[in-house]
Amino acid sequence: MTTMAKTAGRTRAPRSRSRAAETARRAWSDASGRIAMVLLAVLVLAALLAPLLAPSDPAAQNLAAASRPPSWLGGEGGHLLGTDTLGRDVFSRLLYGLRLSMVVGVVTATASALFGLLLGLLAGYYESTAGMVLMRLADVQFAVPFVAVGVALAAVVGPGVVKLMIILAVWGWVNYARTIANSVSQVKRMEFVTAARTIGARTPAILLRHIAPSVLGPVIILWSTSAGVLVLVESALSMLGLGVQPPDFSLGSMLADSRTTLRLAWWATVFPGLAIMVVVVAFNLLGDALRDAFNPSVRTEHDPELW
C-alpha cells in the first residue's frame, strides 16, 4: 500500500462517534429521556417566551376580577387558570414564576456542580489529606438539615433571591464533592491512570485528561436531579417567606402567597404546585435517562427468575 492510498483509507474510515454524542443519542433513544428533553424544552421555551405567551401583565391587580375560577370551569373573563384573590391572572404569573424557579434550579445546580467537581477531584485524588478534611466537613454539613441552615442564614443575611442562590450553591457543593471524590478514588486506581503515570504524565494532566472524563457522567446525572431538588428547596424556603421577595416571584412564592386563601381560590395553589411538580419530574426523568445512557447496563429487560 502506498502512503497516498493509506491516507485515503484513513480519511475514508470515519472516526467513530464521540462518547458524548453516543451518550446523548442513547439518552434520546430512551423513552423517558425523550419525554424529559421535550418537557424541559417546553418549560424553557415557556419561561423564555413568557412576555409573548402571557395573556396579561402578571403583576396587574384587578380586585373586580378577583378569585375567578379557570375559564374551563365556567370562570368569567377567559382566565385559563383563573385569577388569584388579588385578581391577577394565574396563568401569566405561572409563566413568569417559572422563569425564576428554573433560573434558581439551573444556576445553583451548575454552580455547585462546578465547585464540587473541582473539590471532589482534589479530595478523591489526595484521599488521605484533602479527602479526609472534605469527608469530615461533609459529616458536619450532613448533620444539619438544610432548611435549618437556610432559615438561620436567611435570618442573618436577610432574604433575597441572589443570596438564596448563593446559600444553596455553597450548601450543595458538598454533596457533589462527596460523590465525585468517591468516583475519583475508584477511577484513580484503574490501570489506565497507572499507565498515564508510567508515561510521565503530570498530576494536573492525569486529573483533567484521564480522571475527569470518567467522573463527568456522575456529575451530569447529579446535576440533573439536583436541579429538580433545588427547585423544590427554593419553593420550600419561599413557603417560609425566606426565598424570593416581592415584587419578584417564583412558583414557590406563588404557593406561599396563595396558601392562606386556599378556600377562596384553590386554583391559585394547585396550579403552581403542579408546575413545580412538572419541573421536578422533567429534571428527574432526565437524570434517570442520563444514568442509563452513561451506564448502558447489561441488565436485560426480562423478569428475574428465582426458581
Partner: protein, 343 residues
Amino acid sequence: MSTHAPVARVNGLVKDFRIPGGRVLRAVDGVSFEVGRGETLGLVGESGSGKSTVARMLIRLDRPTAGSVEFEGADITALRGAALRRQVRRRMAMVFQSSSTSLNPYQRVGEVLAEPLRVHRVGEAGARGRAVETMMERVGLDPAFAGRYPRELSGGQRQRVGIARALMLDPSLIVADEPTASLDVSVQAQVVNLLQDLQRDLGLSYLFITHDLGLVRHLSHRVAVMYLGRLVEVGDTAQVFAEPAHPYAAMLVSMRRQAEHRILPAGEIPSPIDRPSGCVFRSRCPIAQARCERDVPPLVEIAPGRRAACHFPGELRPGGTDAPVHVPAAPPLVAPLTSQKGR
C-alpha cells in the same frame, strides 16, 4: 542473549505496606536481580508473591521501603519530578494485564498513542501523527483505527495498542505485567509473537511477569521465581525447568510433568501478614527440616548464573520428564478434497 551490562538492577528491594490495625505487611522482602540488555527475565510467582509490587518499584510507581533500583547505570531509587520523567518515564515503559482497563475509555486510540510524545514534547503535532501511524503498522494495527475508541476493538487489538503505547518513546526496558493473561490462547500467541519480534528488531529488554509456566518457558531467557515476597530461585530458563534447585521451583516445574510426577504442595499459601519464620516456604515444603524453621536461607549462587534460597538445594526433584506437549502430528489438509459429500 544476556550481555555484560545489565539495563536494570534491583538490590535488596523491600516494600512494606501499612495495613489497618497498625500492622505492617511486608509484600516484598529483599529481592535482588538484574535484567540484561536484550534479555527477557521471566518473573514467576503465585498471587500474593509480590511480583507485581516488584515491577511497580522497578518502574518507580511505588518507592521501595529499602533497597535500590538502578536503571541504565544510574540510581533511580529516589528520583522525583523532572529527573524521574527524564530518566525513567522516557526510557522504561509498562504493558498491563488487562487491555480493557489499561486504556482510557474516553481517549481514541490515536490520542492514547500520541500522549507519550505530547507529554515529553517530542516532535510537532504532524510528526506525532505520523509516528503514531508508523507505530500502529509496526504492531499490526490498521492506522484507520486511530479514530476508534478502545471498546470498539477486540481484546487482542487493544493489547496491541497497549504495546504500541509502551513503544512510543523508544524505551530500553519494558515491564510487562501478565500482558496475555486476559487473552485466549489463539490471541495470546499473536501478542507473544509480536513481543518477541519487537525484541529482536529493537533490542528491547523485558521484565515479563506471569503465572503461566508454559509461557515463561517459551519466551524468557532467564527466570526468577518468587514466593511470599522473597526471591527463591533465579537462573537460566532451560536449566531451572530441567533441574530446579528450590523445592518451590521444583513443585512449579512438576506441574508440567505427567500426573504421577507432580508434587502437590501441602495446604494453602500462608497469608503475607503472618509469614512463616525462617524459610517462607517451609510450611508447604516436603523436605523441610528443623533448620528451615530457624534460619532464613540466603539467596546464594549454587552454580554459575544460578542462585537459590534453600538450605538443601536440589534435593527435591520432580521425577520423570516433561509431559508430552500435545503437538498434533497430522498437518492440516492442503490437498484437494477427496470426499466432497458435504452433507
